[in-house]
């Protein structure tokens, strides 16, 4: 299934989070959330085990509430396709501190590897750009991934969007906690918010 010229998803996510500083990272339902876990558990990781299509909107709500924090959504092509309208919503709000990365393996890896729309027709970079996210890029090298990782910390130039074509090889599952209240309250605590 894998092609030689495609990037390794774990290597891409490790590069995105290598020098994360105060970044809040939101992982969309599917393998993306495992990739974030593989890069290291962190109080500022927000793992989704459901709510397919919601990752970018969780990122928007957080980015608007915390305009001085870099917010990075890392999700897959299937999850992004389900919430594609949220790119229009984000393009309208234009939060400068929000970055979205789609790990695009052109398939639904969690459900048997069925091909997704990005395999043959849908161009998510074009969609994001057309929705008003001017900084929308296709990434095909690790150098580009590292440059994007650095740009996430620039809170003057977002929102930004990147689509990374990745190898579709199935990797060992590295699972984060599934306890939603723990994930949310740990993040809130790290941002300085007490329990209600």
């Amino acid at each position: 299934m894998s092609k030689a010229n495609l990037l390794d998803r774990r290597e891409v996510v490790a590069a995105l989070l290598a020098n994360r500083k105060d970044v809040v990272a939101i992982g969309g339902l599917g393998a993306s959330t495992n990739d974030i876990t593989a890069a290291g558990d962190h109080a500022r990781n927000f793992y989704l085990w459901g709510g397919m299509g919601g990752a970018a909107m969780i990122g928007l709500g957080l980015a608007l509430a915390q305009p001085k924090l870099p917010v990075l959504v890392i999700t897959g092509d299937g999850e992004m396709l389900m919430g594609m309208g949220s790119l229009a919503t984000i393009g309208l709000q234009k939060p400068k501190n929000l970055s979205i990365v789609v790990l695009d393996n052109e398939r639904y890896g969690e459900t048997g590897g069925q091909t997704s729309h990005t395999a043959a027709a849908a161009d998510l970079v074009g969609v994001a750009k057309a929705c008003g996210i001017e900084d929308s890029r296709a990434i095909s090298t690790m150098a580009e991934a590292k440059a994007f990782a650095a740009s996430v910390h620039d809170l003057s130039a977002g929102p930004r969007f990147a689509n990374v074509k990745i190898d579709s090889a199935e990797l060992a599952r590295i699972l984060p906690t599934r306890d939603g209240t723990h994930i949310l309250n740990r993040l809130r605590g790290d941002l300085g918010f007490p329990p209600i």
Partner: protein, 177 residues
């Protein structure tokens, strides 16, 4: 803070006042005629951010993110949008964030358009099956008390709550003169 509403029938202003008192900061919405005055007030407010959505479930996820970042929000929609939210409503009990939505009702009380009736008829049931408590306001005089109760239980007790603003309150949409 804005001036108190001039008349008891100025219910959108009553809602806006309640949202101000509860320090609501993010107001995602899919427009509805019944919400138009409230949306205008929100968009003109410096404390609240009105956020137009392409579909209602975006608003559920947005409110989760807002709360993660320390802000309260409220989702405005009409009854036909409630069905769009069903799977995303699973975030509410799983993450346990304050959830309040204000829903203008269609498909009841003198409805003209039959296409509004199926979703309008199941709106309350959909919420209840999804773990969201339902309160209803049917006339202008009860709007302030219903809003206060809904906001209090949603934000203080983390009780997911929907307020149905009855078509009797907002007035049935007239297509035929």
């Amino acid at each position: 803070m804005s001036a108190r509403p001039q008349t008891a029938s100025d219910w959108p202003e009553e809602i806006f006042s309640a949202l101000e008192r509860y320090d609501i900061r993010q107001v995602p919405y899919v427009p509805d005629a019944g919400h138009s005055k409230l949306i205008e007030r929100v968009l003109a407010s410096s404390a609240m951010r009105g956020i137009p959505l392409t579909t209602e479930e975006e608003g559920v996820a947005l409110l989760a993110g807002a709360w993660a970042g320390g802000q309260r929000g409220v989702l405005l929609m009409q009854s036909s949008g409630v069905g769009n939210c069903i799977n995303m409503l699973s975030l509410v009990p799983i993450l346990r964030f304050p959830f309040l939505t204000l829903v203008t009702m269609r498909g009841e009380w003198g409805e003209f358009n039959p296409w509004q009736v199926p979703m309008g008829s199941t709106t309350q049931g959909v919420f209840e099956l999804s773990g969201v408590q339902v309160l209803r306001a049917s006339d202008a005089a009860e709007v302030p008390a219903v809003l206060e109760a809904a906001a209090a239980q949603a934000y203080n007790a983390l009780t997911p709550t929907a307020v149905l603003l009855s078509q009797r309150l907002i007035g049935a949409k007239v297509f035929i003169k």
